[in-house]
Structures are given as structure tokens and as C-alpha cells.
Symmetry: C2
DNA sequence: TTGCGTGCAAAGGTTTTGCATGGCA
DNA sequence: TGCCATGCAAAACCTTTGCACGCAA
């Protein structure tokens, strides 16, 4: 859980390259796996899991379980703090699967309310709101 | 997905007994499994899954994926509608794993804000807030 | 009798672990 | 050289599915 990277290996670089080239957005271990296979880069699935664990410990990557059944979702945060989606909640549409970033002052107020009146410190990074998005509601 | 119960079997009754005796709260398939094993009641794990699926179709039970890694969470809603935690959000403490029911007018206001300003209709049943609870924060 | 329900076993998929090898510092 | 990282295989898990038998109606 708290193991950090000590060596810089080729595999770690390849994973970071993927994260940089892809930019913000969500991905799964399977995505990385397929990406490496397509590119002909040799990185074992085990290594992907282990490197992601380390990147999570370092705060570079965040992990969600957005989907109910399938595999876990990861997100690249990057070295930059307080920007990115550090303070951001996510909305996920249950119909189209789209993930929306929620940037809104009301959210901060809501967070403060929960902290003050319910004694619960919400972690925005790990919290996902499920529901129906504008586009799907219009159908 | 839409298969409903046609027969009343001993196993279904045992599952309903468990739900009634336990009352509101969350449980996993493993909980049911262990409960039956302890009591010496013979109900196969497969049957638990299949009966729960049917109860979900009937709206008697709700299913979440509150935990990241481990198994799915189920909740007994009962025949009564609009009560239970139909309209309720859940808070989950990332440290102690406790699940807290959030009953609060502010939440409704927040939901309305998201609907009006972001065009997103939140589904409270499926949304879980992650964070640190009062007790764990005090440690 | 009809056909759903059950349960065992096996498969499916994701994630973790053991262990020997390989590579960074 | 020392120790971490890698990767294969296998295990651990949770969940679903196939199939024959049992049981409710």
C-alpha cells in the first residue's frame, strides 16, 4: 500500500509514456495491456498492476470502481497538484457510460455541509455520482 | 434481468427470513452464505445469486458495488416503497469500512442544483460518497 | 405432468501471489 | 554487488453458466 518506486525501469517509463500521451481521462488495466500489445511493447500484466499500485501510493494515479461488474478504472492525475481533477467530483451516466467532470462551487459548499453537520470528510476523488446525463434524458 | 419468481421454495423462504430478521442494512452474498452454514441451513451459493437477481427484478432488494475490490453489496428494501433508503445517499468510510445513511435536506437541494445547472439527474441509490468518518478522523 | 428451482461442477473474468530471473543503481 | 522489478504460472476471488435432478403447482 505504501511501497514507492525506487528504480526507474523501462516498463515504468512505458506506463508513464502512455499516461502522458493519453492525457486526462480514464483507463483500465486491459486498456494498457492492449495498448502495449498493439505497439509491440513487452510489459506484463502483473507489472501493470504493481506499477499502478505504486503510482497510486505516490498520488500520481487514482483508482475507481466506476463500473459495477467489470474491471477497475484508473485516472492519471500527474505531478501537478490541486489542478487536474484533484478537487473534482465525477458524474457517470448509467445509460451511455459517459463520465463528466463536475466543477462547481456548490459542490464545495455541499462538502463543507457534510463535514460540519455530519462529521464526514468526503474524498471527492473517490466519489462518483451515478445518474442520467442531459443527452440521455433527452432521448 | 426480468425473470421473476414463480414458485415458492424453501430456499427462497430462508433468504426472505434472513432479510426480515436482519432488517435494513447491507449484506453480501458471503454474509448469507456464512449465515446459512452457521445455522445448518442448506442453500447453495448459486441459488443465493439467482434468488437475489430475482428479488432485484422485483424491486425488493437493491444492489451496489460499494467496495472497490471485494464483493457486491445488497440491501433489503422490502415491499414498502419510498421508505427504506430509496431516497438516501450512502457514505462509506475508507478507513473503517462503515456505511452511513445520509438523511439530509441539503442533499436534496444539491441534487436539484445538479439537475438544473448541470442537466444531470443523480440516482441516490447508486451513489456512494467516500471519505473519512467522524470516529476515524478523531484517531 | 410441466417446467421452474436447485446445486454441483466448471468456466469466466479480474486481481494477487510465489518464485526464479533480470536489471537498475 | 545488493536489492528491487519483472514476468510467468498458479492461485485466490467473485460471479455466471451447463446440466441433471428435484420439487412446487
Amino acid at each position: 500500500m505504501d511501497i514507492k518506486t525506487k528504480y526507474n525501469t523501462k516498463q515504468k517509463q512505458e506506463i508513464l509514456n502512455f499516461l502522458e500521451s493519453k492525457g486526462p481521462g480514464h483507463f483500465t488495466v486491459a486498456d494498457l495491456d492492449m495498448y502495449f500489445k498493439t505497439k509491440g511493447i513487452k510489459v506484463g500484466t502483473t507489472t501493470i498492476y504493481r506499477q499502478l499500485d505504486k503510482l497510486i501510493s505516490e498520488g500520481v494515479v487514482k483508482k475507481y470502481n466506476i463500473d459495477e461488474t467489470s474491471s477497475a478504472c484508473y485516472e492519471y492525475i500527474g505531478q501537478s497538484d490541486a489542478n487536474g481533477c484533484q478537487q473534482m467530483f465525477h458524474l457517470k451516466c448509467e445509460k451511455c457510460g459517459k463520465i463528466i467532470h463536475l466543477e462547481c462551487h456548490e459542490v464545495t459548499l455541499f462538502e463543507e455541509h457534510i463535514a460540519e453537520h455530519h462529521g464526514f470528510k468526503v474524498d471527492p476523488m473517490r466519489t462518483v455520482f451515478y445518474g442520467i446525463c442531459k443527452d440521455c434524458a433527452a432521448l
